[in-house]
Amino acid sequence: MSEVSNNAPVIELRPLTPLQEFWKYFSTNKGAVVGLVYIAMMIFVAVFADLIAPYSPIEQFRDALLQPPSWTGGYLLGTDAVGRDILSRLIHGARLSLFVGMLVVTLSLGIGILLGLVAGYYRGRIETVIMRLVDIMLAMPSLLLAIAIVAIMGPSIVNASISIAVVSIPHYVRLTRASTMTEMSKDYVIASRIAGAGPLRIMFNAVLPNCLAPLIVQATLGFSNAILDMAALGFLGLGAQAPTAEWGTMLADARQYVQSAWWVVTFPGVTILLTVLAFNLMGDGLRDALDPKLKQ
């Protein structure tokens, strides 16, 4: 997961602006562009879910239980066991998945960066404590840890997101700390320190911007992990609660229809797969575009 290089990018001075340069590299990776387009589409669908979805995601059509998918039947992807339109649920689920991804990444990135910066800047005892905590968390299977946290807070989509965020913090801490340590020995940091800049200023103004590249890549991958983990928790009954349309929960409910109603099981699974794949493709592209080592 963390194959991200720890080296900070050295932006070479060229006639291109950094953004143009980024796009130049990024767009050569066709997979990444496909991923980006898919994600853009998903964001669009999520934002306008109410307009796009043919039905309400929670309305139960009691005369249309477990309808198979059909062009003409009114339910494009069929209905589930209580007669809810699967397509509409998937569309509204997109909103939820993006929300979860956002929440998880914001939380874990924020806390992770903070702890990583502090550990990398101050070193010494603080660092030991933080890194030991990270070691402890990494020693436990993350799914198990997430399950325990959800069990404490009670199953709900927000609690599940928090638990996923908590278990993904260690990766960001490690990444940030490693980058910070590299940056700290660079001349410009030493220079600004001599110039009398305070720790906060050095951490956030000097060091952080220079270790952003690997963090951005990791955050993109964090998105896909969040969606997968949420699906796993939902599948184990610890994620979103009914009647919320969340993809993993939809799969969990559908599990008993594996043999009798394939569409109830297939579509949420495919949607999760494609979405995660899109984020991973984009993450790959970002890495290639941001990692100077691969640019040559």
Binding site: M1, E3, G31, R132, L133, D135, I136, M137, L138, A139, M140, P141, S142, L143, L144, L145, I147, A148, I149, A151, I152, G154, S224, L228, A231, A232, F235, L236, G248, L251, R255, V258, Q259, W262, V265, P268, G269, I272, L273, V276, L277, N280, L281, D284
Partner: protein
């Protein structure tokens, strides 16, 4: 070297105690009451509830419970399951071989396919093969594995009938529990076809569990190979006119493998996480399923003890990887 190992061990001990504290705190913060679960719909009178909590030691103040827990750990006693009343350690090691066997085969599957695929993809960079391998492995990496398990089971077991649906071996065969590893026990038994049956039962679960590691290994091998292939000494070797396969296998591969081995080591934790879902779906009698069920039943000693043993094993594996790494690469040993 000795000092290096000592230093690493020095970090392991506080981590271990940190884990005991963290698991204990987490488990005891989980709401719910094992006694109520046992009583079920019938309910339980407050008097009887008090008697049972006293018997299970749940009425003690929390810090006392923690110290008696740690005291027990130091003597190798992780307490008894609240449900079956059997020692946690005994139950763990009864189920652990099944998980190890599954994880081992999954890793084997991942390595046997991931490594060559990654190497060939790197050597034939930009070819259709490369694109296919990368595409497939990224898809594998993005797979919700519980869904993948259901799909495979539906296709291969239910529709085609090629593989058994679940279990470790044909139940009509009598296999004694000797080592707990079905592949070994089946060879030790005098039942005909037992080993074949054990292998047959392992196929689908290992593929499911091995999918993500396979993807990671293939990608890592490819990028690591690409890096090495670009190094000067490889160009030199090529320039010297060595056979291409010789350059790849003898010179490049050896160096490219070091990061790959680290990645494989890191997969232990991922395999165990994946095992939770895989075991749940395939009814595999391992520790992942056991822990999930125990969380549901609020069987505190089992969850605590189980997580503790797993975490300890992961720490030890990481330590081992570190030490091997230090032996292979003296630079790391002397760093810091």
């Amino acid at each position: 070297m000795f000092q290096f190992i000592l230093k690493r061990l020095g970090t392991v001990i506080p981590t271990f105690f940190g884990i005991t504290l963290l698991t204990f705190t987490l488990i005891h913060m989980i709401p719910g009451d094992p006694i109520e679960i046992m009583a079920g719909e019938r309910g339980i009178s407050p008097e009887r509830h008090a008697i049972l909590s006293a018997e299970l030691g749940l009425d003690q103040p929390i810090w006392k419970q923690y110290f008696s827990y740690v005291g027990g750990i130091l003597q190798g006693d992780l307490g008894n399951s609240l449900v079956t009343k059997k020692p946690v350690v005994e139950e763990f090691f009864e189920l652990f071989p099944a998980t190890v066997e599954l994880a081992f085969l999954a890793a084997l599957f991942a390595i046997c396919i991931g490594l060559p695929a990654g190497i060939i993809a790197a050597v034939k960079r930009g070819s259709i093969f490369d694109h296919t391998v990368m595409g497939v492995s990224l898809t594998g990496y993005s797979m919700p594995i519980f869904w993948w398990a259901l799909l495979l089971m539906l296709v291969f077991s239910v529709n085609l009938g090629w593989t058994p649906v679940s279990g470790r071996i044909d139940v009509s065969l009598w296999i004694d529990h000797v080592t707990g590893f079905m592949l070994i026990d089946s060879l030790l038994s005098d039942e005909v076809g037992a080993f074949g049956s054990a292998i047959h039962h392992l196929i689908l679960p290992s593929i499911v569990l091995g999918t993500i590691p396979l993807a990671v290994i293939a990608r890592m091998t490819r990028s690591s190979m690409l890096e090495v292939l670009g190094e000067d000494y490889i160009r030199t070797a090529r320039a010297k006119g060595l056979a291409p396969w010789r350059v790849i296998v003898i010179h490049a591969l050896r160096n490219a493998l070091i990061p790959v081995i680290t990645v494989i080591g890191l997969q232990v934790g991922i395999l165990l996480s994946g095992a939770i879902l895989t075991e749940t779906i395939f009814a595999w009698p391992g520790i992942g399923k056991w822990l999930i069920e125990s969380i549901g039943r609020r069987d505190y000693p089992v969850v605590q003890g189980g997580i503790l043993i797993i975490a300890t094993l992961i720490i030890l594996v990481n330590l081992l990887v570190d030490i091997i790494y230090g032996v292979v690469n003296p630079r790391i040993r002397h760093a810091k």
